[in-house]
Amino acid sequence: MLAKISARSGLHVFGYRGYQSIIRGGHVWYQIDISEEKLLSHQEGIDILVALNQDAINNQKSHLRENAVVVYDPTKTNTEILQGRNLRFVKLPMLDIAMKESGNPIMRNVAAIGAVLGLVGIDISIFESAITRMFTKKGEKVVSENIKVGSEGYKNSEVKQMFVIKGDKIHRHVIEGNAALALGAYASGCKLYSAYPMTPASTILHWFAEHEGNGVTYKQVEDEIAAINVTIGAASAGIRAMCGTSGGGFSLMVEGLGLAGMIEAPIVVVLSQRTGPSTGLPTKTEQGDVLFAMHASQGEFPRIVVAPRNIEECFKLSSDAFNLADRYQCPVIILMDLYMSEHSETTDAFNFDSIKIDRGKIAWQANPAERFKRYLYTDDGVSPRSIPGTPGLEFIAGSDEHDEYGDLVSDAFSGIDEYVETRRKMMRKRMNKIETMLKNEDVFHPAITNESAKNFLVTFGSTTGAALEAAQILNSQGMDFGVISFNYLMPLDADKTKKLLEGKSLIDVEVNFTAQLAQIIKSNTGIDIQNRILKYDGEAITAEQIAKEAQKIIQNK
């Protein structure tokens, strides 16, 4: 609510939730950074702490910045533990206000929002219009109660305008990573989402459940094995379909991924990583499944792995994933992580007009003289597929190795010269798609900022925002940094990537233990990045942390 109100007043917002894997309660916090400038990551330190309970004060005390404001309810919490520090306090009887104005104790956070708005100088009228917009569906009573409680909080905050930030009056959208991704799929003709609940991918399932309709449906199935195979069945029958999960569920999807590779079914799989191995830290983030996503399933087959770097790319790359899957008839994996999935960010409205749907090569017309060759040998590796229901173009898609018709060359046929050759040709046909995509799509290489800089942070996906801000911090301290960031991880245009990285002073930044991006870079380009900033404690890396570590590395050189 606070994020939306801030965005409506023309400010930029970056929200990130901290929670524990218990059903109710635990120490739950929501960090919202509000700024006049676009924010690319969550920031370190707290300017305003709204403590709804004593845990919030106890657990967050070390994160409070100098001169921070602590908004607390004197009837529920005490601030003794903070005495002697350079802090400002706002006593706000949140519970009393909530009970008096609405009779509902849960509404005390609305009182807190009112108070925060007062502290940062956002006009109460924006609050009122935002509340009206958000709750009209739920009835007038809900709207008026929210407004009363919020206004009371606003009035009650003892000190006004402790921080002054001014929006540019442009109404901005605030959206979570998973919602942006889901919307990208929804707007690009994805008609079925299939999943089994797993944090941090579950909110994609919730999104589809909430937006079911307009020719789009979803299914919660019995496990992730079913989720991916339902997706493969749906894609084989001719619709765009997607499934999503986290690492544990992806482990179960692995065999299905190979099936999609073999029968050349265009599917999109979302893998939102969390801290592993095994159950790991289920509500914490990590970028530890990159190599797993790239190599999951037996044998070799073309696949595309993408990792969105910001909220706009959650939408864009999810939309593009379907075109790539259709064009190259292979699985596309969207590599998210808890941080990217669950953070919210201000953005302009997504541009639906820019979406161009390309279903790739499809055969519609049967040649009565000839049996349809679904897996026709082609130079680019892509064979026209037919949509079940089309007369005369029937075929059987086989997970066994097959010939151009789809007939098996396994079992009784394997080892016979003719079929040895069939296997060789069919394998080459499939694998040729990699070369074709590298040739036709100018996306399989990293992006670079501040090209003439002395040093570069090298990173990918969700860590890019923090790296970009770290470079700003470092440059403001007189250093010279740029950022090289990857959003496509597989396949990689080795030449372009090498050209970009070669001869530069590089620091690899990743949220995992084994520097998986650095490994990919080394295997593709031979460039071995020795300087590494790696974080694997479950918390997302911040710009401040990267800047501090990068500074140390440069000084020790």
């Binding site: 959208h173 008609k191 449906t217 299914k219 079913a226 749906a234 029958a237 619709i239 997504f350 098996l408």
Partner: protein, 296 residues
């Protein structure tokens, strides 16, 4: 039996692919029965999709000239479910073995029954793993000596009929490859039935199972249709489903155990009930703009 098979092959839905099965394999009977059922129903080839798993019996789709997917071991039900979600106009038939259906893929079978999705699942149950050369299967008899149970199988056979009925399947039948005409009727009615149909077929493995042979079954099976059984009665159906077990496999009913009219998943789903997903228009610009506004 060869005569009978010839008789049922009136209209040909078959491909030129030669089946991989051993001479005398029960799966030939199933192949003939499916062909006859499709022909009797006059279905258009291009509107039929046969989805299989992995195993001897899963070679079935290749023997037909319809659409099909020869998928993964145990996963034909999810693949078939996806096909049906995408295009409910297609007649979707699952074909696989007892390992597929009752071993590695049992969970999917039960959930498909619960979901009552309109798929016809034909399980060629030979009480053995044939393609992997003769290990015990979930339906192998207790005491059966196989390559993986040289001292006799310790486990009792699974009861797929009872499981399917209790899980919510709305058409549950059992056939015998030794009687393909009877089987063709069950398959035809299963395809006609609007909902999840399971047709378990005793389909003898002539190479690796010398216990459950054609003769062994012939001396034991009897037809429910001739015994006054009421397939609309769920309790009676469950009782009949237990008879093979309780009689020590002396009396083994085949035929239709249970049939129920219950709305299918596609009938209930607010989007799917509007027609095949593949024919429904995607969200319009106005609908997308409206969703975008939620984030203002």
């Amino acid at each position: 039996m060869a005569e009978e098979i010839k008789q049922v092959q009136k209209q040909n839905y078959k491909s030129n692919v030669k089946p991989i099965w051993c001479a005398g394999c029960g799966d030939f009977g199933v192949n003939a029965a499916i062909n006859k059922a499709l022909s009797d129903l006059g279905l258009q080839k291009s509107n039929v999709m046969i989805v299989s798993g992995i195993g001897c019996s899963s070679a079935m789709p290749h023997t037909f000239s319809t659409y099909g997917v020869h998928s993964l071991h145990g996963r034909l039900i999810p693949v078939a479910t996806g096909v049906k979600f995408a295009n409910s106009d297609l007649t979707v038939i699952g074909t696989g073995g007892d390992g597929d259906a009752y071993g590695i893929g049992l969970g999917h079978m039960l959930h498909a029954a619960r979901r009552n999705i309109n798929i016809t699942y034909i399980v060629m149950n030979n009480e053995i793993y044939g393609l992997t050369t003769g290990q015990a299967s979930p339906t192998s008899m207790q005491g059966a000596k196989t390559k993986s149970t040289p001292h006799g199988n310790l486990e009792v056979p699974e009861n797929p009929i009872a499981l399917a009925i209790s899980a919510g399947a709305t058409y549950v039948a059992r056939a015998f490859s030794g009687d393909p005409m009877h089987m063709a009727e069950l398959v035809k009615n299963g395809i006609r039935h609007n909902g999840f149909s399971l047709i378990d077929v005793f389909s003898p493995c002539v190479t690796f199972n010398d216990l459950n042979t054609y003769d062994w079954f012939r001396g034991r099976v009897y037809k429910l249709e001739q015994s006054g059984h009421d397939p609309k009665n769920k309790i009676a159906a469950l009782e009949k489903s237990l008879e093979a077990d309780t009689s020590g496999w002396e009396k083994v009913p085949i035929g239709l155990f249970y049939e129920e009219n219950r709305p299918t998943y596609e009938d209930l789903d607010p989007v799917l009930k509007l027609g095949p997903l593949i024919n429904q228009p995607s969200p319009s610009k106005e609908q997308l703009d409206k969703i975008m506004e939620e984030y203002l």
